[in-house]
């Protein structure tokens, strides 16, 4: 998939599809790392990551609201929606790969790459120019940006990607007229009755202001506000939340980047199940219970995405039972991670998230 300059609504649909895909793509690596922590260990690190996951789900939902507001239709069940790990991020960052792997310092470094703030700020503002785009020759499975000149480029950070979407929204709203542009059925919006959590508030999107507000919330929760470690709501951004794990100390209000001054955050890097990195179905012996359980997980996960998709496509009330499925998935993931792979010394199983390789359980 390739993104191009945003000139019409169809272009924006593609960007928002990529946004939803991007927000989702971080979830399997994040939750797997949490689930590899041994029982009753690393509770602080677990909670740090859990909050980020909760916010990623909010971002996913916000992106779906924006897409619905401009008459698009979220699609979480399309083949290829769930990336094959290792993967690049769907926004085109490609100087690092995203893995499914055990909780470790290296994994946290990887998460820091995912959440890295935009590289340069001019006058303390998100750059208008995507100076950080760079050329590449590597083969990609995920979208890149083709400039007007036909050059293939990549976003450096998630924030830049969203800033681009924000500009596109503003541009098209002006071009088509706000009312005409935001023509989506408001009944398709996920509203606060159906989605709330400690991780922030859902914003129903009906016009340019609310759309930009949603985009702002996503980027700020991710990487902070105007280069600061806290966002406009006073919440620590994801990058710095992860950095606390790396540095072993909590940030306090008023701290500067890289110098947290809060209490110590203790981590036991050894209290972790050593899973197969980026596991695949064929890593588990066929006929083994591990294999069966993984197929079952993937099938449930596929079904889970189908239910979320149904909620995003006109049945917002179905979001609540869909979210309930996550509890089942969590227990299934734990079961996999606690079991050694037969024949592999000291290496444990993990869900493979290969949803395109399994059939759906049921139609929603």
């Amino acid at each position: 998939m390739t993104l191009r300059e945003i000139n019409d609504v169809e272009d924006l649909y593609e960007y928002l599809y990529a946004a939803i895909q991007l927000e989702h793509a971080t979830i399997p690596p994040y939750i797997t790392s949490m689930y590899t922590m041994k029982p009753n260990s690393n509770l602080e690190a677990y909670n740090v990551i859990r909050v980020i996951v909760v916010e990623e789900m909010l971002h996913l939902t916000l992106a779906a609201n924006v897409l619905n507001a401009i008459g698009g239709a979220p699609n979480l069940i399309k083949e290829g929606f769930v990336p094959e790990f290792p993967t690049y991020l769907p926004n085109g960052e490609e100087d690092f790969e995203v893995n499914i792997e055990s909780f470790s310092p290296k994994t946290i470094d990887n998460f820091l790459m995912i959440e890295r703030p935009a590289r340069e700020y001019q006058d303390g503002h998100v750059p208008k120019q995507f100076t950080s785009f760079k050329n590449t020759s590597r083969k990609r499975i995920l979208p890149t940006y083709i400039s007007a000149e036909g050059e293939e480029k990549h976003f450096y950070s998630i924030g830049e990607f969203y800033a681009f979407i924000g500009e596109g929204l503003t541009k098209l709203s002006l071009k088509l007229g706000e009312e005409e542009f935001f023509k989506g059925d408001p009944e398709r919006q996920i509203t606060p009755e159906y989605y709330y959590s400690g991780g922030g508030e859902i914003i129903p999107v009906t016009n340019l202001e609310s759309a930009l507000e949603a985009i702002r919330l996503i980027s700020e929760q991710g990487e902070g506000f105007e280069g600061a470690i806290y966002d406009n709501e006073g919440e620590l951004s994801h990058y710095y939340r992860f950095e606390q794990i790396k540095l072993g100390r909590y940030y306090l209000a008023g701290d500067t980047a890289g110098n947290p001054k809060g209490k110590e955050l203790t981590i036991d890097w050894d209290a972790v199940y050593n899973i197969k990195t980026n596991p695949k179905m064929e890593d588990y012996p066929e006929e083994s219970e591990l294999y069966e359980a993984n197929v079952k997980f993937n099938t449930y996960y596929k079904n889970f995405l189908a239910k979320i998709n149904d909620a995003f496509n006109g049945n917002p009330q179905n979001l609540i039972p869909a979210i309930g499925e996550m509890f089942v998935l969590k227990n299934m993931a734990y079961e996999l991670i606690h079991n050694p792979i037969p024949g592999k010394e000291g290496v444990y199983g993990a869900p493979t998230f290969e949803v395109d390789k399994v059939p759906e359980i049921s139609k929603v």
Partner: protein, 158 residues
Amino acid sequence: MDINLIEFQFFLKLSEKLTAFTSFQLQGTGVAEAYYSTVKNVVGVTIFQELIDTFNKIQTDSDDETSLDKEIRHRILSNSKLGPVARNIIKMWFVGTWYQLPNYWLEKYGVSNSDSTFVVSENAYKEGLLWPTIGAHPMGAKAPGYGTWEDPPKIPTV
């Protein structure tokens, strides 16, 4: 602990028989090793070894499920030394609690003063097999999510 330890594998096999959960499910709880250590610590290595050895012999001696069942009853569950230990292993798997062994047992075989009723760990409580057996979850943990209680329970068939 080396989980490939043969004794641990036999403990899992015995637990499979006693609980009717598969070794995958038992290991999936993440507390199998803790249970293995708990039994060994409380009843002592000798009795634990005797239990494992007896089970092993039974397995070799029995040709089918019916004779296996009979031998488990005859040589383990009805045995005054091994029976209470085996029953305690069952209870521990189902609710995460080690129950103090009966007085007569303690007087005759007791080696450790760590034998009292206790919950093995927080996780042992959460991983009790009783709860999935009845299509539920331990009270206060592993919640199924808002509104799930409206639907009939999903009780696994055995």
